[in-house]
Amino acid sequence: MQSVEKNLEKFSGEEPNAMKYVKRLWERSAYLAERGFDLEWNLSILEALRPLLGHWVAELNQVAAHVETIINMMQSSHELFEHACADLPILRRTAA
């Protein structure tokens, strides 16, 4: 929860990221609902968020995560750079 709360602040402030914010909202409500805290309220939040997690926006976010992974690999080492480059055609297909 500590980490989720921090991320909620981060993704709605210094590093805005709507999809990650939705995921953290989901995690918070899941955590609380599983423990019986304000069950009905958290259940309604989960039900409201559910369609977003299967939305094309979420799919686009997955492509963005792939890009982020490739960038991280490229910045890691020369060996990883080449492997990351080999992944670009797949990225192009999934993003199309």
């Binding site: 899941a30 599983e34 792939h66």
Partner: protein, 374 residues
């Protein structure tokens, strides 16, 4: 049993971790049995149990096969069912108090009353002989353990009469359906097993663990470690040695090429100045092998709320049944929590409770004032 628990298996006091769910009220008469586990229980016992159940579920479609119940994230209870007969295994609340003893409570409900005693005894026997021992044979064929036959199927699963999957718990269960390792592609599973120190107890974590996340960006995993040592320093040395052996030269896993992305633990020198922002250290494979003392110190300092975080890259498919999305390279963060089973229990226990309580207080304050509607 105590000896069996500490043999080839990590164990933690039953006070850990913090996710305790309140015991459900018994809605109808059932058979209740108690099993003394000597004060020690793996924190991943219930999730591991759920995983075994899930493996059973997807390998055998028989209606009498035991299946995992709703959210298996709680560290104090597990639930599984076959038809209308449900078995709930929980840590008996009294054992969470001062006593160093832990009692597991086995409750059998629903189904045929005549079978209560038989089922309860079978479950108890299974826990004693198979689960706590984590017999390697059981890992490969969990169905053989949990195939408790002769349980009649008479009505719907939910114990709420007339629910028809509409009550809050059923809706919550449907929303929070979880992923287990058997859901992942086999190549990815082999990477996970290679990346984990105790592979059998690693499981999806964070938002990734929910099936509702149809398009996860990476694979998040979490692993609890317990180091059997006489002091914190000794435990750190042991953990350091394990990490060096495990990740010092990791290149392949089950035929898949694996790339080391980075290992994060400890703080940079600038963080030691008062008022300076904490700068987390990142380790390369070479650094891990060559700087033993520094790594021990870093592991002692930890990374955020974990002991360490490992990033790996592998080119694999994501899920078993959804080959459509080919996510080429995945990041595999793994977190570890350092706890020694000797001498460290009390401090870890109180620290964990303190964090949980302070977090609850913060949320309460937030709900009262800053975010009253959230």
């Amino acid at each position: 049993m105590f000896e069996r628990l500490v043999q080839d298996e990590f164990v933690l006091p039953s006070c850990l971790p913090v996710a305790h769910s309140a015991e459900e009220v018994l809605r109808e008469a059932g058979k209740v049995l108690y099993l003394d586990v000597g004060g020690l229980l793996s924190p991943n016992f219930f999730p591991a149990l759920a995983q075994k159940m899930y493996s059973c579920q997807i390998t055998n479609d028989s209606e009498s096969t035991w299946k995992p119940g709703p959210p298996q994230v709680f560290r104090n209870r597990g639930h599984f069912h076959a038809g209308t007969c449900s078995v709930s295994i929980s840590l008996f609340p009294v054992s969470l108090c001062r006593s160093s003893k832990s009692l597991l409570r086995i409750v059998v409900q629903g189904g045929n009353e005549l079978k209560y005693e038989e089922v309860a005894q079978k479950v108890k026997h299974l826990l004693e002989n198979d689960i706590f021992g984590f017999n390697p044979g059981c890992e490969t064929d969990p169905a053989s353990i949990f195939q408790l036959k002769a349980i009649p199927i008479t009505s719907a699963l939910c114990m709420n009469v007339g629910c028809q999957q509409t009550c809050s718990l059923c809706r919550l269960r449907a929303l929070l359906e979880e992923r287990f390792l058997p859901d992942l592609d086999s190549a990815l599973r082999s990477v996970v097993q290679r990346a984990a120190i105790f592979g059998r107890h690693t499981r999806p974590a964070g938002s990734f663990r929910f099936k509702a996340m149809k398009y996860p960006g990476d694979v998040d995993l979490e692993e609890y470690l317990a180091i059997d040592a006489n002091s914190r320093d000794e435990a750190l040395t042991e953990l350091c040695r394990t990490i060096q052996t495990q990740y010092g030269n990791i290149t392949r896993a089950g035929g898949v090429e694996v790339f080391f992305g980075g290992f994060k633990a400890g703080f940079g020198p600038a963080s030691e100045c008062s008022g300076a922002k904490k700068e987390y250290l990142s380790w390369t494979q070479q650094n891990i092998c060559s700087s033993t003392e520094a790594l021990e110190k870093a592991l002692g300092e930890g990374h955020h709320t974990w002991t360490a975080k490992l990033d790996m890259f592998a080119k694999v498919n994501l899920f078993l049944k959804i080959p459509k999305r080919h996510l080429a390279i995945l990041r595999l963060p793994m977190s570890c929590e350092l706890v020694g089973s000797k001498g460290l229990n009390l401090s870890s226990r109180s620290a964990t409770r303190r964090i949980f309580c302070s977090q609850l207080r913060r949320i309460w304050r937030s709900f009262q004032a800053r975010n009253p509607m959230q």
